[in-house]
Symmetry: C2
């Protein structure tokens, strides 16, 4: 298999995905929920894997997320298979939705001959519709027969809805001479029926690492990557990030915060940030990725408040789409973010420093207009100059196509 | 003057505006900030009026708001004149912006021969630009010479930016046989240069009322009207509501919470709600007003959190624009609002009850689609069924024209 290798600090980036780590197979098949499109993904680890998941904070949590959390708790953080369908979210479906989900867990458990509590399930698509169990059952049989060490690409395809491209990445690095691999895939904002922009990400690894350390690393990484992106500020009922590590790399187990741990952390951070950025770049109707870095805030939470206010502002987002250096909108968002801000101290950078101590510098609007026109990734830096903490968020512009995608009547 | 009289409970609604109360004159003139459009408004009360104002919570508060707050404090809540320019917001303009604003206060004070601290000033338009003092000075002279008891309409016109229509209302009611009048005008979301959607409202009355009661009434009314609307969730640097009562109606002073007070409160609530709704109906690119009522929450604050999450959700707003009965988006917004919610208890109404106890009822999507298509005002009711408090917000749909208006390069 062709590998595209780029040199990064302590790890190598590989054009691969979820099946790159040892002992991970996957399949993506058509089960008939979405018209003539792949819509069912199965991921399988030959060895029971340590696992950790993070789930939407939406109070209307979809049934499969409830079930997967329950299984992770029953199995004390172990998983061996993940089943994902696209097209129907199985959210707001009440008791029947839960019962259906447990039924799909049974199918997977029986089909793969693994314990029920080692099965994670998730769904993305239209809210308020029930799963077609017969289709899922037949599709799963097909998926099991297609499980393959090279199945990552098809798996990454079958979790998409109206995403315009697959989102995959993989890295490897050495721990005590052994190659350790991480692979990931994600889906972003899109829908068949116009519906929630659901974020899903799955990361696998063959690293051998102590459960608590794995959790800590993932929490830290998710906080700074997946939890820092926004397409439209709407938190889905189905958001989920799931990680599995099966230990098949054969490295000496990482059991303390030593150099090996930080090597893993760095690589994991890269994978998560890459996937998170893929999601916003492929945000509904997006033409530009926007990165907002807030510096020198009183705390990370405060920095995040400011960064999120700017990245979610419809006026900032439409200004970027219009290639309009309308920096007043950025400061206004900083001002209403609710964070501690001293207006007379704020510096703002858009290509160059354009506001110093809350007041405009003489700038060339034409130059900034050009920057907004010709750069795919727009960087905004807000320097609050009142503390030492920083936060970075990623989002996208608000365009006619966002409105178009989301107004199409089902 | 032709008066269109509608019968309302304890008050009459009149097709009039800011100059309807006794002793209030106004003018709206062209001073040359906006090309060939009225852009300078002056309101004048023959008698010093009790006044109260509420100002943006944005940390980047514009210079005129800082100055007006200062004057209201110096004068202990008295005002006699208000000067408003459109076209330039005088926000993020630092010390020079403040100095310029005080200069305009001087012009008004000298021109009208009134105390400086009796002058309120405000601005709406592009952030980061300085006021053209010469134009304001010349325009003010013109405005003073045009001050008129019938000047309300021109005044309401000169505060607009890209609003498509004037927003005016007046009411009268009897207190102890004396007619008391209230008049109001507002501007909503719009801009010459694409910029902040600034909300301004001015209400005058000839009622005689004790200062503390006036403040209490206004706080209560603003909280339930102007603070409950949203076009795009962006809080401007220049938002301001200002009220003046000059006592010229000759009613026995309202000095306790008796029937007279509640009569006034009811009429004031009507005026404020009318103006607030005018603002969202004329929201940038809006085709529909959306009203979200949240019932039976644990507190008003919790009810408001839910109502604001729904009214600000880009996915709910685009669904309404697309006439798409996509109720899952509404529940999702309820779920991420941060308020206490029990998903299994939530009922949802869109034309009819469509969700009961968090689960979909059998509904006719076609009927709801028709409702969304043919009603100008879309009503969404969310019944949380866990408490006794409620809140209502007003907003509008998110359309191609919103994106168009806000992407036009200045």
């Amino acid at each position: 298999m062709m590998k595209d290798v780029l040199n990064k600090k302590d790890f190598q980036v590989i054009k691969e995905g979820i099946t790159y780590p040892q002992g991970i197979k996957a399949a993506g098949v058509k089960c008939g929920i979405r018209f003539n499109k792949k819509d069912l993904t199965l991921i399988y680890s030959e060895k029971v894997a340590d696992a950790w998941g993070t789930f939407t904070t939406n109070k209307f949590k979809a049934a499969p997320l409830v079930v997967t959390e329950k299984n992770l708790s029953l199995s004390k953080g172990k998983l061996q298979a993940v089943l994902i369908n696209s097209g129907i979210a199985n959210a707001c479906t009440g008791d029947k939705g839960l019962k259906d989900t447990w039924e799909t867990v049974n199918y997977v458990s029986e089909g793969l001959k693994i314990k029920k509590e080692y099965v994670a399930v998730t769904s993305t698509g239209k809210i308020g519709e029930f799963l077609p169990l017969d289709k899922i059952k037949a599709g799963l049989e097909k998926a099991i027969s297609c499980l393959d060490y090279a199945g990552g690409e098809k798996a990454a395809e079958a979790i998409l809805t109206t995403d315009t491209k697959k989102k995959e990445i993989a890295v490897n690095f050495k721990l005590n001479g052994e190659e350790v691999r991480i692979g990931g895939m994600a889906k972003g904002s899109g829908m068949i029926h116009p519906d929630m922009a659901t974020m899903l990400a799955f990361i696998t690894s063959d690293i051998s690492i102590k459960g608590e350390l794995l959790q800590e690393a993932l929490k830290q990484v998710v906080k700074k990557t997946f939890n820092m992106i926004s397409v439209d500020g709407d938190t889905s009922t189905n958001d989920m990030v799931l990680f599995m590590a099966n230990g098949l790399a054969g490295n000496k187990i990482v059991d303390k915060k030593d150099a090996d741990y930080y090597k893993f952390l760095e690589a994991l951070q890269y994978v998560a940030e890459y996937l998170a950025k893929c999601i916003v770049k492929d945000g509904e109707g997006a033409t530009k990725m926007i990165e907002v870095e807030v510096k020198n805030a009183l705390s990370f939470t405060e920095a995040k408040k400011v960064a999120k206010a700017v990245i979610n502002s419809p006026l900032v987002k439409t200004a970027v789409f219009g290639r309009d250096p309308n920096w007043g909108r950025i400061l206004a968002a900083v001002g209403y973010s609710g964070a501690e801000v001293m207006p007379d101290k704020v510096d703002l950078y858009l290509k160059e420093k354009i506001v110093e101590n809350g007041q405009p510098l003489k700038i060339s609007c034409q130059e900034i207009h050009k920057y907004l026109e010709y750069s795919d990734e727009i960087k905004i830096i807000v320097d609050l100059k009142i503390g030492k903490e920083s936060a970075t968020t990623w989002g996208c512009d608000l365009t006619y196509d966002y409105v178009k995608i989301n107004t199409k009547y089902s």
